[in-house]
Amino acid sequence: MSLLPRRIREFVIEKLIFLSGIASIVFVALIFVFLLREGVSVLKTTSLGGFLGGKFWYPISSPAKLGILPLILGSLLVTAGAVLIAVPLGIAAAFYIAEVAPKRWRTPLKSCVEILSAIPSVVLGFLGIMILVPFLRNVLNLPTGLTAFSGSLMLAFMALPTIITISEDAINAVPREYKEGALALGATHWQTLYRVVIHGALPGIIAAAMLGIGRVFGETMAVMMVTGNAAVIPHTLFEPVRTLTATIAAEMGEAAKGSPHYFALFAVGIVLFIISFVINLTADVLLNRGRKR
């Protein structure tokens, strides 16, 4: 008799755990379905090529020009700039904290990195507008400081904590024996680091970089404040750009429901979703390859 309630209990608990497990999959699927349902209607007004390859974004004109090529390139450019700055810096910082810094410094350094990640992006954007933008304009003698580069710098700041924390965990997870073996064979500390430890930690470091890129790509607020939001096809890092995220943020509140503009913003959301998905997928593939080796 006592078996039955227990069985039921276990059954219920099992199903609950199962539900929590697949919840995230269901949510992602639902979000995608919703985006897709609203977004595909953009094809009524413009062709797929005209949407992805169009060079002009005038969403409230009639007829509306809904070309998001400048927005895609803007997002990619800002992200690329941020990655070039944040990834080397982040990995170097992680190595310093994990391997080089004196032991008593490690905890305070780690805490500082974590505090960095707690700064709200609006606050960073605000500092960017007040300090970074005028500074860049004066130092680099640019027409305006509201450029992709300002956005990249801000985003690099925001991606650093992610990259440092995860890389550092990966470095710490490298088996002690590897390091001891290398040192026993007569390698210097530096040789051990860049010949042995980095190989052991590589999958984790790549994952860190990819998560950092994901964070940067989806960031909205700080970017919107410092990049100038001009929907032009950028040629250098030192020109204003408009990103996919900033476009949705700035225009969604105003778009009339059911208008081409409204559908186009959802389609922009789909594009964002797909690009993020590809970034994460690449990270996964790279990670798995790293593990097999």
Partner: protein, 326 residues
């Protein structure tokens, strides 16, 4: 006018997407409070304080309300003790709205008036969603909005409450001090790209515009770029920077010698240089002042509206009756 404004997708009135996105302490907002002190009305003014002080300069002759039927119910006397009134919309008018709200609150301490910005279209969308009672708007309603309101079973009621001039500003060190409407059009369409062509230094021109949710953006496009034909093909140059607020334009103009921007007369400050504008080559350039806007000699001016659902009643009616300044 044809902007595609309408229902904003903001189910939660407290978290409006647009105001949420406005980064700086630009959005001057007040929260309705149900405290039992005498002074129930509080306001938080961020970076705008200087502009706020210049309001009287920005406020131009006030016209009388259009068609306000006498049958509207006067609801204040037998109203519940504490009431709140949400006003939302044009960034141009948010400071003006604050001033009214504060004065109105002195007369009616039992009514909390909350004023927020976000853009004319945002305000009208909020009005139709029922998340505010009065929309401040710097443009008249467009056909889509009127139709959408009809479909939802009510009419929108516009009241002209003020006139506003749109000023064109540059950095104080810029030697250019007047432009014609034709020059402005070519500058903002990206056809004139260097200050040298206008008698200034050999520097690039950096265009500062508002985002598409702004009534000022739409008015400037239709009035200056399209020369009054609202359906014309002209557009802002793609290279124009879309700034999230008038404050952001003012700030960038004060710091950057290459810029040219536009916003409402209320934001005049000594940190930017205000250009005189001539209707055409043969007309004299007119500086924007209260007098020139009122006399309609300054070429870029427009009416400002308070928009409500149906005929205003109750505290909305009281507020509208209060607003016109003698």
């Amino acid at each position: 006018m044809k902007p595609e404004s309408g229902f904003a997708r903001s189910p939660d009135p407290a978290v409006d997407p647009l105001t949420g996105y406005h980064p700086l302490p630009i959005i001057v907002s007040t929260t309705p409070q149900l405290s039992f002190e005498k002074e129930t009305y509080t306001r938080t003014i961020g970076m705008r304080t200087p502009a706020w002080k210049s309001i009287p300069a920005g406020l131009v002759g006030v016209l009388t309300a259009i068609g306000t039927p006498a049958c509207a119910r006067r609801g204040a006397s037998n109203a519940p003790k504490y009431q709140s009134l949400q006003i939302k919309g044009s960034d141009t008018m948010v400071n003006l709205g604050q001033a009214w709200a504060e004065a109105f609150n002195k007369l009616h301490p039992e009514i909390n008036v909350a004023v927020t910005g976000g853009g004319s279209g945002t305000g009208i969308a909020a009005l139709m969603n029922g998340t505010c009672e009065i929309a401040e708007s710097s443009r008249s309603l467009d056909q889509k909005e009127i139709k959408q309101a009809e479909e939802s079973g009510f009419t929108l009621h516009e009241t002209v409450v003020a006139l506003d001039g749109i000023i064109v500003v540059v950095h104080p060190a810029n030697p250019v001090d007047h432009l014609t409407m034709a020059q402005l059009r070519e500058i903002f369409m990206g056809e004139i790209r260097r200050w040298r062509l206008l008698g200034g230094p050999d520097r690039p021109i950096v265009l500062l515009s508002r985002e598409v949710n702004s009534g000022t953006h739409i008015f400037f496009k239709e009035h200056v770029l399209r020369r009054g034909k609202s359906k014309g093909p002209e557009e802002f140059a793609p290279s124009a920077l879309m700034m999230p607020s008038s404050y952001a334009i003012a700030e960038e103009t004060a710091h950057n010698e290459n810029t040219i921007g536009y916003y409402g007369l209320g934001y005049i400050s000594p940190r930017q240089k205000v250009l005189a504008v001539a209707k055409d080559e043969h007309s004299p350039a007119v500086a924007p002042t209260i007098e020139t806007v009122r006399a309609n000699t300054y070429p870029i001016s427009r009416p400002l509206f308070l928009t409500t659902r149906g005929n205003p009643e109750g505290i909305v009616r009281d507020f509208l009756d209060f607003v016109p300044i003698k």
